[in-house]
Symmetry: C2
Subunit: 253 residues, 2 copies
């Protein structure tokens, strides 16, 4: 049994808590939430604490708060030499300060409120300062996921940038596609199978080999006809820069 305390009650914290609760080898001893009105499904209200000095003893303290609050929360933990980890993709391990042993427990996924995800498929990216702590984190991660990676702070930063490209930016392109459909009375669902296949394809073919479309073919007639069609400057600029990037890339092949 691994005993843990979660500090935070936001989006990532809530999804982690729900995943931990499904394992009978993990005991969530407390949840620390600043907001006194927080309640967590299937978690006893009396174990949700609102002042940090009520913190109890545990094998591991998981700080899952906004990036800018991690350091402050870490400094307020009223213990020394405990294992304290954060769950952020963009913050280095050192943001946790030196009062306690440090680590990172970063689930690489896009979490949306009220949308459950299958944690078994979520890569958990771990970092720790010594072998014992690494073992404990890997042990904990293995209770909720099949995909465990040790990733140092520098790599995690790169990975987070890559994640912004393949998730946040990709989703924004979905939105621009959605806008174009709406403006032309086309149901956006017509694009769903294409979106799905595009995402599936790169599991078996590298993205560079999977590239299709007018830019890939350097088909300037279609490219210009699309640019003429787009009357919104923002979409036009995005179309231009991504088309140029694909064409430049093909040239390198």
């Amino acid at each position: 049994m691994i005993s843990i305390v979660i500090l935070g009650s936001g989006n990532v914290a809530t999804h982690l808590i729900s995943a931990f609760q499904k394992s009978n080898e993990i005991l969530i001893k407390q949840i620390f939430a600043r907001n006194p009105s927080v309640s967590i499904p299937d978690f006893p209200q009396e174990k949700i604490i609102h002042t940090i000095d009520q913190l109890t003893d545990a094998d591991l303290y998981i700080i899952s708060v906004s990036d800018t609050a991690i350091n402050e929360v870490a400094n307020q933990i009223p213990f020394n030499d405990k294992l304290v980890v954060h769950t952020s993709g963009s913050m280095p391990i050192d943001i946790l300060g030196n009062k306690n042993r440090k680590g990172v427990f970063y689930p690489l996924q896009t979490f949306t409120k009220n949308k459950e995800v299958d944690f078994k498929e979520i890569p958990i990216c771990l970092e720790a300062e010594n072998e014992n702590d690494s073992t404990l984190l890997a042990n904990l991660a293995s209770k909720i996921s099949n995909k465990i990676y040790f990733i140092n702070s520098e790599q995690r930063k790169a990975m987070h940038v890559a994640a912004v490209f393949v998730c946040n930016f990709v989703n924004h392109l979905y939105q621009l596609g959605n806008d174009i459909c709406t403006e032309n009375n086309i149901p956006f669902e017509i694009l769903h199978p294409l979106i799905e296949e595009t995402a599936n394809k790169i599991k078996s073919i590298s993205p560079i080999d999977a590239q299709t479309g007018p830019a890939r073919r350097n088909d300037t007639v279609t490219i210009n006809s699309h640019l003429n069609f787009l009357n919104d400057n923002n979409k036009k600029e995005i179309y231009k820069i991504l088309t140029k990037s694909i064409i430049d890339n093909v040239k390198k092949l």
Copy 2:
């Protein structure tokens, strides 16, 4: 039984042929391929013709060649008043000229050589000039797919632009993410579950509600740290323009 002739042997033609072959209510009478060395799996070589004047009688002629060749092939068909369709997302119906009855049979998907796709889930976008032809095309489409849409030429053009955003551009962002991973010794597969969830999410939540990440939060600290991290000008510019587009969009909410 619907009898058809396919004119073309490229990527889209090959995938269509393979889908039609699976139905015993469709008879492919001939395939016209300019290249004399073309062979099609499970299709009799003697029915592959290389000069267009050998064309036989059929219910429907499907021209599946590159956009710039459609008009030329349509003009060379040695018949009048037959139903002739093309399979292009970006070309209007009128490109087919006036010798024959016109139509469009556009499967909206990204086709990659040697990667089979489940046609049942592929939206087939149809256009025709009269009700009889519409019925024939819908009938044919229903033999290979569950998703049939009637889309006029103007809408199809809009849809094709939207498809470039959600497929071609998205795939390029996958590639940029892949590049960042490779440069930092991170296995790209670590991003696969994130890519999959991002694509799945928009089936149940609109893209604007699914948006996450530093730009969505207007988190300038993380945005600047990512821009400092990116040493490649092209990636930096793409990061900037998409971040700005997300931020501007959030402001409109």
